[in-house]
Symmetry: C2
Subunit: 150 residues, 2 copies
DNA sequence: GATGGTTGGTTGCAACATGCTACCAACGAT
DNA sequence: ATCGTTGGTAGCATGTTGCAACCAACCATC
């Protein structure tokens, strides 16, 4: 578990997000959860992670409100791990990572798993950062206001 | 440094992305780079990270093509670290993390740093995941095609 | 051209996190 | 009752991180 005791970066939302899900396994667990994994064993087989590590990660994610631990849906006495609303709100993060990976780590034509629109089976539109009035923004078109009461 | 020698998850673009930038510091370094940091010392002061760790991370990011190490723009003999095109393409990832953090880790009215449209000073529009034909998609509206030649 | 502060690191070591393997308790089917 | 499956825990080896000390090159000043 990451415990941030360095100096204070804590007014930055990016830092708080990274604090919550910014390690190798947490993001992949969340990805698997979006893909339908729910059971301990599913995550474990899919990720190949050691079980003690998975235990710790799931606990952290539950404690952080990203996952919820609920009784298994098949009536057995086991538990399942499902995304909370907060966890589902990570969807754009996962999609952004996926699109960046697709564009930068695969040769043209190289096969890779693909996220598609369930209704039509088509690929998704690339994420766009937009201004309030709908202009498309590049990094240079933006700036950070240091601290402000919103 | 993370070396993935577990089993093969490598056809998933999310996994490759996480492999490249999926640790605590790398993402914050990239965030700082978007905010204008370029010099070793700037990153070090801004992040409070140990220098040996920063050295290692910068090297990894340069090796991964996210940052480029170029001669300093002020004419001194030192070097600067600037985002490559591939690095700039992480913009939606950072914005997604920022928006998730804003919505989930701050009380209403609690001050936090804010990313704004430089031209008008307004907040950005929330990222949306869209289908090819422009419908807004929730996680449940999508599914993963396991492997396919694109 | 010596000096002293700044920049950008490297090295060694202690502490902590991770991964592997073995073990184990509760469950569920027979 | 028993036997495989599920969901863990425990112990130990190894890898990664963080801290502090050191250091070499750069740069301004005298």
């Amino acid at each position: 578990m990451v415990t941030r005791t360095r100096f204070d970066d804590s007014d930055c939302p990016v830092a708080r997000s990274v604090d919550a899900i910014g390690d190798w396994w947490s993001l992949l667990i969340v990805r698997d959860a979006f893909d339908g994994s729910r059971r301990f064993g599913e995550f474990q087989r899919s990720l190949g992670v050691a079980k003690n590590i998975l235990t710790a990660r799931l606990r952290t994610l539950v404690a952080g409100g990203v996952l919820d631990s609920v009784p298994a849906s098949d009536g057995s006495a086991y538990r399942e791990y499902v995304l909370t609303e907060k966890g589902k709100a990570l969807f754009p993060v996962i999609v952004a990572l996926r699109q960046w990976g697709e564009q930068n780590f695969f040769a043209p034509g190289e096969p890779h798993s693909q996220l598609v629109d369930r209704r039509q089976g088509h690929r998704l539109r690339a994420l766009e950062v937009l201004s309030e009035d709908g202009r498309r923004l590049n990094p240079d078109d933006t700036t950070v206001h240091k601290v402000s009461a919103q």
